[in-house]
Amino acid sequence: MEATLLPNPKDTNATILLMGLRRGGKSSICKVVFHNMQPLDTLYLESTSKPTTELFSSLIDLSVMELPGQLNYFEPNYDSERLFSSIGALVYVIDSQDEYLNALTNLSMIVEFAYKVNPKINIEVLIHKIDGLSEDYRIDAQRDIMQRTGDELLDLGLEGVQVSFYLTSIFDHSIYEAFSRIVQKLIPELPSLENMLDNLVQHSSIDKVFLFDVNSKIYVATDSSPVDIQTYEVCAEFIDITIDLDDLYIEDSNGSQAKNSNSKVATPKELKSISHLSNGSILYLKQMIRGLALVALIRNDDVRILNDGSSESSIGTQERSLTIIDYNVNLLKKSLMKMWENSKLISRNEQY
């Protein structure tokens, strides 16, 4: 397996700007996705009154900046121009449980400004809090919002602007799916990552593979087969299961310091986890670099063999296919390391 690196030196900018009216759910989204807050606990969040920025290091360094809803960005003393010219994605949060006409006007105004300053900006609209809406109403709301936004932008003479819409809620995985896709657009190496994962799938019996950011459970890449909600959730939860069990036997730091002298100070080893499921599938996890983990669902290919051979041989082939997957995943990890070194070089070159 060989990775073709297509780094684009102009595109290493990875700031996400979160905007939207007050109480739309911006802080909640940040807390749930990036700080593992329980969705119900967001009820107690204070209203945000000044811009906040948070940094996340994953394959790329990502910063998420939240602008409070009531701020007037177009005041002369606020340097909105510089702000918008430096961001990769504008994420606008609309509360779908509330009257949203004001939000749409606000959105168009911001898009007009942002697009002028930075025509390459990705514009992403979250139709948020859909957990409170019925299935039918969700679709109606989405259609209505898309229609109105389109009309408003047309009125402003902004025809070519691409806007993506996502239905989201912090109470299910939809917010992770949306953020995954938003973040992926900011990763210049995405095509080669996807290529590598497709390659992996082609040369083994893997059904679906994700490259996860372990902390946030955003996936920075996946193979090109469609993402099935259940598979995503099971894979994301498998990361937590593995880490939670591993943590239980990591000795208490106080205790190990006490006997520091005779215990070798172990460098952390690469975490790996494999689980055989009763239906013959296998869940496979391997830690990669930079807070990433590869998680794959491997399907059972051995039905044929089971019919004409003994069950022994089927276990044999499964072990063999795991060995091959291990080998390929190790290669992929090496390519990731190379890719990251390259991208580090590029961003450093840019500074000078």
Partner: protein, 324 residues
Amino acid sequence: MSNSSRKKLLLMGRSGSGKSSMRSIIFSNYSAFDTRRLGATIDVEHSHLRFLGNMTLNLWDCGGQDVFMDNYFSNQKDHIFKMVQVLIHVFDVESKSINKDIEIFVKALTNLQKYSPGAKIFVLLHKMDLVQIDKREELFNIMMEKLQNISNPYQFKVVGFPTSIWDESLYKAWSQIVCSLIPNMNLFNSNLIKFNQILDAEEIILFEKTTFLVISSTTSIENELNKDLQPELDPKRFEKISSIIKTYKQSISKLRTNFSNLIIRGSNGSHFYIDILTDNMFIMLILKDKDNHISSTVQHEELLILENIKAARKWFEKIENGNV
């Protein structure tokens, strides 16, 4: 044999104290979140669970509304309180009417003394998550002393646990309740120690298959001897494992399947093996990396350990079936 291996467990307590919630989490793979959908239990709900081969747990979840309670203590009293092995009495720690709660507890004890004087009594001080962390221990001690004093005239010894569906405490309590019913407990323990003389694992734990409650555990001989030299491991780790694996089972039920094993190469040089031991038990081994292996021997070692687990199977099947 078949008669004595049926165990009747009464689950009692006021309405809303959390009885059905616990039962659903431990025995029916609910998540704590799912329990919000539960309605009040009407009369008595029976569940029958096969546990470790030839034992059957008959769990009587007694709906706690006053209408039903009044019936238990009058018309139905011999039906309810006869041949009881275990009473699990649940108290909601946030209850506004403690006197009423205690009144019911006393009635249950009175009837048990008459119909099943040999029963074991467990009390669960439940919904502990609602109490401030630093107040929990004190509250627990005060309540337990009070309840023990109440039980003394009836010649019952009460064993109590603080519990909550929102953490692993539930698993600790239920594990001990269920273990108190296993007649050949010491055989499990002694065989586990024997098994570990072969494997030299850091720790071996036996779990019941459906509930993932801990049945028995052993640690390495070296760890046992040098207890104070060893760094502290989390004292709640067993119930945490139960809880984590239950979460895992819930998770993969989305793929309409269960798991047959889980092998983790940890970040700290520990290796974890969770595997089916018998039809009714899972085994978990925690092994420390001895030397630096190259990857081919690692895989070899994995297979060897899985083979060893297979080999131990018949020992433990015998104990389960009471043939030792």
